[in-house]
């Protein structure tokens, strides 16, 4: 069952590669939050209840509700246009993300480690690289933030892979998640919206040599 959820998660990555509108991105993030909830619920049955509740709260309340609502609010407040404006065509993005998936599968098949669940590993790594890819090929600052959130999801999956033995690391990962997201979204994204209208990375090109 975890495998099915994780594979669905990998499919959302392909979808995010061809999504055109910002609302689609947000919906994918919501969906990913719920998928992560399912994975956590099934994968981490051995740890204590309080910890489990904490992790579940983080996936549902934080990843699937709070962050998307806030992103929606920011888009509305700043009147950001609805198109994601990638630098390269969606079709090529689709091919590249597929390649990322294939390469991570080939890479991980060369690893022989009985302690590692390979599905977790593959999905985590390809999520990570897809996030980096999205950051580097989209024009708007808000899509950069979304790419970062995708990376965070990947890291979360990776921490689940080691979570049963080291719950401390999962909690640390959640701390990273909440701290960095709140920090990036809350403090700075709001400020950028106030100073620059319809934020575009091209407006952040003053600092150079």
């Amino acid at each position: 069952m975890t495998d099915i959820l994780l594979i669905t998660f990998a499919m959302t990555l392909l979808y995010i590669g061809i999504a055109n509108r910002l609302t689609t991105y947000i919906r994918i993030l919501v969906f990913q939050g719920f998928l992560l909830f399912g994975v956590t619920f099934l994968a981490l049955s051995q740890i204590n209840v309080a910890n489990l509740v904490f992790i579940l709260l983080e996936t549902i309340i934080f990843k699937a509700l709070a962050v998307p609502i806030f992103l929606n609010y920011v888009i509305k407040k700043n009147g950001i246009t609805r198109v994601a404006e990638p630098f390269i065509p969606n079709f090529i993005s689709l091919i590249i993300i597929t390649l990322i998936l294939v390469i991570t599968i080939i890479l991980s098949s060369s690893i022989h480690d009985t302690h590692l669940d390979k599905t977790f590993f593959i999905v985590a790594l390809s999520t990570l690289f897809t996030g980096l890819y999205i950051i580097s090929t989209r024009r708007k600052i808000i899509t950069h933030v979304m790419g970062y959130l995708v990376i965070e999801n990947g890291v979360f999956i990776l921490s689940l892979a080691v979570g049963n033995e080291m719950p401390m690391l999962v909690n640390l990962g959640i701390m990273l998640d909440i701290f960095a997201s709140v920090f990036i979204l809350g403090v700075f994204f709001n400020k950028i919206g106030d100073v620059l209208k319809d934020p575009d990375v091209n407006q952040l090109r003053d600092l150079k040599d």
């Binding site: 302690h115 890291v155 640390l172 990962g173 600092l207």
Partner: protein, 475 residues
């Protein structure tokens, strides 16, 4: 003592944040300085003591903590001069000193951390406080600098976390679940080399954002440019040292295993590329503050060369980061006065500085000699040892390339500094130039002199402590 220092220091930061009264602000900052020094002296006198299970006052940590405390005093003083000459509001003053003390606290405590997760948490706090300092001026450019810094640091902190996850995977086979540096050092033989490789790669890449190496150096440059110069001084000294100590501790584990050569190759590539990038920018740069920042990239490249070369290079690397942490802040502190004279950072608007502020001009000249490692600079000693270690490690090609790049850096640095010092500027309204008190340059002289003194006549305890830190690596 950490149980006492940490809450008190954070309390002072919070009080500074809420306080609007000038006198209370002075008192709090002075008491913070005293607290920091008491803490440093205590840690210095209790070597290798484990506190709270996560902090250990080992030689390297204490050395860098002493460096931090020495730099902190002029940084706070120049912070006051900066606020006084810029007509700041009470709110921005409160935020400035609150962030400054938080940055000093988090960095100091992170030096002593003996657990990689704890280091990670405090590194994240330094990002938070640093970004407040970068956004001090609240204009579009400061926002851009802060945004880039936060975003790149967030990505690199994620990288470090991924590295920690891989590290825990490499521990799994050995059946250990203690991620403290001591435990890792003790059990290095049982670590799985494959996961350790991945862990090192990610942790190294993540911490390059703080250290200022390729690939994550970019954020630091904008940060040092846009932050007020006293904060820039801290970023280019103690915060870089934080990156160094974090990488050094993880390298000390990797160096015991079979993947040491592999790790050395990674470090060498990053180091040579960093020096190359610094050369490219320093030969054509026109912004003085950014030039100082790129000079920091060059020095950290050299430090990493020494670390990878091994032998005497490791000793030289540690000496180099300490000396660099005295030299670079003095240039940044002096820059606030340069800016007060010309109101510009561009090399095209400045010149003839000797005429307007003689004491400050001599600081810049000495700082230039120190930063380019010409004798009698203290950095000459450490750089010489780094080159020697490269030669002994049979890395002659790399040595050759680096020497050529360094010559170009000296040319670029020199042509800008001498333009600033001697060539008359094109247009300047001399009536508007303020008179600058020579005593404001005193701390810069003291730092530069200290860098020379401890390089040529190091106290025995100082040498002993560096030697202790070097002993973390296998011989």
């Amino acid at each position: 003592m950490i149980t006492l220092f940490l809450p008190l220091a954070i309390l002072i930061s919070v009080l500074l944040f809420f306080n609007r009264n000038k006198k209370v602000n002075y008192t709090l900052v002075v008491s913070y300085g005293i607290l920091l020094w008491l803490f440093t002296i205590y840690q210095f006198n209790c070597p290798n003591q484990l506190e709270l299970g996560f902090f250990k006052s080992d030689s390297l940590g204490v050395l860098l903590l002493v460096t931090l405390s020495i730099v902190a005093i002029p940084a706070l003083f120049h912070g006051y001069r900066y606020i006084a000459t810029h007509d700041e509001s009470r709110k921005s003053r409160a935020l400035f000193f609150s962030a400054m003390t938080l940055l000093l606290t988090a960095t100091g405590v992170a030096y002593l951390s003996n657990h990689i997760a704890v280091t990670w948490i405090f590194v994240e706090i330094t990002t938070l406080s640093a970004s407040i300092l970068i956004y001090h001026h609240r204009n579009a450019q400061a926002l851009e600098g802060a945004w880039k810094y936060v975003f790149i640091c967030a990505i690199s902190i994620t990288f470090v976390f991924i590295g920690i996850l891989f590290l825990s995977l490499s521990l799994k086979q050995a059946g250990i679940d203690d991620l403290s540096f001591d435990a890792l050092q003790k059990n290095y033989a049982q670590l799985n080399p494959f996961w350790l490789k991945l862990a090192f790669l990610f942790i190294f890449t993540g911490f390059t954002a703080k250290l200022g190496l390729v690939p994550m150096y970019t954020a630091g440059i904008d940060a040092k440019d846009k932050a007020p110069a006293p904060a820039g001084a801290l970023f280019s000294s103690i915060l870089m040292n934080l990156g160094f100590i974090s990488i050094y501790r993880i390298y000390a584990i990797v160096a015991h295993t079979e993947i040491r050569d592999w790790a050395n190759t990674i470090i060498l590539i990053a180091a040579v590329l960093s020096i190359f990038v610094a050369t490219v920018y320093m030969t054509r740069i026109k912004n003085i503050k950014r030039m100082f920042a790129y000079s920091g990239i060059e020095h950290m490249g050299l430090v990493m060369l020494g670390l990878a070369a091994g032998g005497i290079g490791v000793y030289a690397a540690i000496l180099h980061v300490i000396l660099h942490a005295f030299v670079k802040p003095s240039l940044f502190f002096q820059f606030t006065q340069v800016y007060r004279v010309y109101h510009s950072k561009s090399i095209y608007d400045v010149g003839n500085y000797f005429k307007y502020n003689r004491a400050g001009a001599i600081v810049l000249l000495l700082g230039f000699i120190s930063a380019t490692a010409m004798p009698p600079s203290g950095l000459f000693v450490s750089e010489f040892m780094i080159f020697q270690s490269l030669f002994e490690a049979h890395r002659v090609v790399i040595l050759f390339i680096v020497l050529i790049l360094l010559t170009m850096i000296i040319w670029g640095f020199g042509s800008n500094i001498f333009k600033l010092l001697f060539t008359p500027p094109l247009e300047i309204d001399e009536s508007r130039i303020p008179k600058i008190n020579p005593w404001e340059s005193f701390s810069q002289y003291a730092l530069l002199a200290l860098a020379i003194y401890i390089a040529y006549n190091p106290p025995i305890i100082f040498v002993q402590m560096i030697q202790d830190a070097v002993n973390l690596l296998p011989h």
